[in-house]
């Protein structure tokens, strides 16, 4: 039994323009101690997917279908009290905007202690000591003073760390991080990611990391799910996702990764913008933007299928690599003909056409660990995600 099982989760928002399905039939699992990424452009429904796990969706939004099981327990069936005890204690979340997540009129320390008290973790002096040591664990330089600071007195990076410390205060089994690196400058981003990887190991906490940045995914995640217009379009171990992207949208995202330290934003390699969720495109939701789209794409909705067998992925079961594109059920005539070009740190190129597995020879492990150390020492060096993201068609 996985730590977290999400089956067919569907979340709707009732807006003036109509009903928006921000998350539509989402299924995935997270194992104990695993770092799982949900990747997509903004507006794809990533934050909604995260908030749903703690049932934090508020009017006019609503979880209309699906199941969420945490250690086998039915989260959607929790009573108010069970839910309260689940939140923060079993699963904790750090919002996208960390400063806004904390109450401006109480100090950081007060709020960490309050969280621990709500879950009977610690009180009084013990709680204070624990809070300060947590602040230290997330690499806040002066934890004693951060403890007495109000949220507005912290910089963006410090606030993010303080929120993560708060989230860790009750030893959750699952930590949900919503865009933890957004709005931080690259050096701080790299430091924060390092802290996170560290924490995940020492606390043995599973992490669901929500991001639009594949560079972040490459740096610290085990598996990833790519989200497009409320749907899961590809789900794979991170290495496979980078070396062998099997959905055109994933390939497009990979091509648009800015290198850390690159400074300039690259033009998005996926032309166009995400669809209006009130009127989602028929068939494959990606077809208006997909360079490989054929007639069948506009009429038939591709199911998420296991790449090896081409069989649909039953809810809650974890295949190694699944993708939702007609290519993988043999319904696409032309096929996907992008190439994956991998540049290693020595600048050697190798080219790989999609659907084959030749790329792994390039030494992923070496490149990954190099990438991590490069982040803080020499931000100008090519970064793992960026390397793997080089794409040519």
């Amino acid at each position: 039994m996985a730590l977290l099982e999400v089956d067919d989760l569907t979340v709707q928002f009732y807006t003036e323009d109509g009903v928006v399905r921000a998350v539509d039939g989402f299924s995935y699992e997270i194992e104990r101690g695993e770092t799982f990424a949900i990747v997509g452009e903004s507006g794809a429904g990533k934050s909604v997917a995260s908030l749903s796990l703690l049932r934090l969706i508020e009017r006019p939004g609503e979880i209309v279908d699906g199941e969420i099981r945490f250690r086998g327990r039915d989260v959607l069936g929790f009573s108010q009290d069970e839910l309260r005890q689940f939140r923060g204690n079993d699963a904790a979340i750090a919002f996208q905007n960390p400063e806004a997540m904390l109450d401006p009129v109480y100090t950081v320390g007060e709020q960490i202690v309050e969280t621990m008290r709500a879950h009977d973790i610690a009180t009084g002096e013990a709680a204070r000591d624990r809070a300060i040591s947590l602040l230290e664990r997330v690499d806040i330089a002066d934890p004693e003073s951060a403890y007495t600071d109000y949220p507005h007195e912290l910089s963006g990076g410090m606030a993010q760390r303080a929120v993560i410390a708060t989230a860790l205060s009750c030893d959750p089994d699952l930590l949900i991080l919503d865009e933890p690196t957004t709005g931080l400058d690259v050096t701080i981003q790299a430091q924060l990611l390092e802290t996170l990887t560290d924490l995940a190991e020492t606390f043995d906490t599973a992490i669901q990391l929500v991001t639009h940045d594949l560079g972040v995914v490459a740096d610290c995640c085990d598996r990833a799910l790519v989200m497009y217009a409320g749907r899961a379009v590809e789900r794979a171990p991170v290495e496979e996702l980078f070396y062998d992207p099997s959905h055109p949208y994933t390939a497009g995202l990979l091509a648009s990764i800015p290198r850390i330290g690159d400074g300039r934003d690259r033009l998005p390699a996926v032309p166009g913008s995400p669809p209006d969720l009130v009127q989602v495109p028929t068939g494959c939701r990606f077809h208006p933007r997909c360079p490989y789209a054929e007639d069948v794409c506009a009429t038939r909705d591709p199911k998420l299928v296991e790449l090896e067998t081409g069989n649909p992925v039953p809810d809650g079961r974890r295949p190694d690599h699944a993708s939702a594109c007609h290519e993988h059920t043999g319904n696409l005539e032309g096929g996907l003909d992008y190439e994956v070009r991998i540049v290693d740190d020595r600048g050697n190129d190798s080219t790989d056409s999609s659907g084959q597995d030749g790329a792994v020879s390039d030494g992923l492990d070496g490149a990954e660990s190099d990438g991590q150390t490069d982040d803080e020492t020499a931000p100008d060096d090519p970064e793992t995600g960026g390397d793997h993201g080089e794409r040519s068609r």
């Binding site: 908030l51 703690l54 934090l56 508020e58 108010q80 309260r84 005890q85 689940f86 939140r87 923060g88 204690n89 904790a92 979340i93 919002f95 905007n97 806004a100 997540m101 904390l102 109450d103 401006p104 009129v105 109480y106 709020q111 309050e114 969280t115 709500a118 879950h119 109000y150 507005h152 007195e153 708060t166 989230a167 009750c170």
Partner: protein, 317 residues
């Protein structure tokens, strides 16, 4: 910035306001048409000798700015002179009425907060539900009811018809059970409109806070709903209510003018009305000045309350 420095700074900004208020109050006598002496003696006929001696006594023979400074000096030492109408010292006259007004004002103020804040919270949490509707209608009625009418109706029903309370204040010390019992009706009369305003304000500011991210954040941390509402959302909502509650202190004095008449309550409001109709200007001056000072002090307290409630205020300035 420390709270002490913040306080001093706020207090300093009150000084110009205080100067303005004293100047206006002082000007009352001089703005009124005719010779200030006529005003002072209530336009009675007086012989020239008395006129001259009064002129000297009230420093009216000096330039205006000197008169003002002299008056400020007197006032600062609580020396209000004597009333030319009643011949009594103004200071003690006003001071004798003050406790009654304060007692009525403070109890009405507390009652309005005690009703308005919880009612506003309930309405905000119930957003759109029956409790919200009831409080909305209640507040509307409360605001729309003129206090003199409410006072008369209460007095008629509970005093005349049911005979539960006296129609006029008992002959008892202010701090007595009889007095407290008598004060129930005037307190309700005075508190009704204010409670209605506080309810609506509390509701809207609480609603706004409940939409904010930190509330969702507090729930995400697994805090009890009571803690989320009463510790987090409430404290943030209070700034708006504190402003109004502070300013209402001045409005309460206004309201007291009417309510004290209805209930024959021997407070400042009644004194003010009596003095105006008697053209007893020194007394009017003293009462008006007192109201002005009370308002300024209330504002200062509001600013201080802000700083206590919200750390960003004491840090940002």
């Amino acid at each position: 910035m420390s709270i002490v420095r913040y306080t001093l700074r706020r207090a300093l900004t009150s000084v110009p306001v205080l100067i303005g208020a004293t100047a206006l109050t002082f000007g009352l006598v001089h703005l009124a048409p005719g010779d200030p002496i006529d005003v002072l003696v209530g336009f009675d006929h007086v012989d020239p000798a008395t006129r001259a001696s009064l002129r000297a006594e009230y420093n009216l023979d000096r330039p205006l700015w000197q008169q003002y400074l002299l008056w400020v000096r007197d006032v600062a030492t609580l020396e209000f002179g004597e009333s030319p109408i009643t011949g009594r010292d103004v200071g003690p006259t006003v001071a004798g009425r003050l406790p009654h007004t304060i007692a009525l004002g403070v109890s009405a103020w507390l009652l309005s907060l005690a009703i308005g804040i919880p009612a506003g919270i309930v309405a905000a949490v119930d957003d759109g539900g029956p409790a919200d509707e009831v409080s909305r209608i209640g507040a509307l009625v409360g605001i729309a009811t003129p206090n003199f009418w409410l006072g008369l109706v209460l007095l008629f029903v509970f005093g005349v018809q049911l005979g539960w309370v006296r129609v006029t204040p008992p002959d008892a010390p202010l701090a007595s059970l009889e007095m407290a019992w008598f004060m129930v009706l005037p307190t309700i009369t005075l508190a009704t409109a204010l409670a209605a305003v506080v309810t609506r304000l509390m509701r809207s500011s609480m609603r706004r806070e409940l939409e904010r991210e930190y509330v969702r954040g507090a729930r995400a941390r697994g805090l009890r709903e009571r803690t989320v509402l009463l510790k987090h959302a409430l404290r943030n909502s209070l700034t708006a209510v504190v402003t109004v509650a502070g300013l209402q202190i001045a409005l309460l004095l206004d309201g007291a003018v009417v309510v004290e008449q209805v209930f024959s309550w021997p407070g400042m409001g009644q004194l003010l009305v009596e003095s105006i109709s008697r053209r007893d200007f020194p007394v009017v001056q003293a009462v008006v000045l007192l109201i002005a000072v009370a308002t300024i002090v209330a504002n200062l307290l509001v600013d201080l309350a802000y700083a206590v409630i919200d750390p960003r205020i004491r840090h940002d300035r």
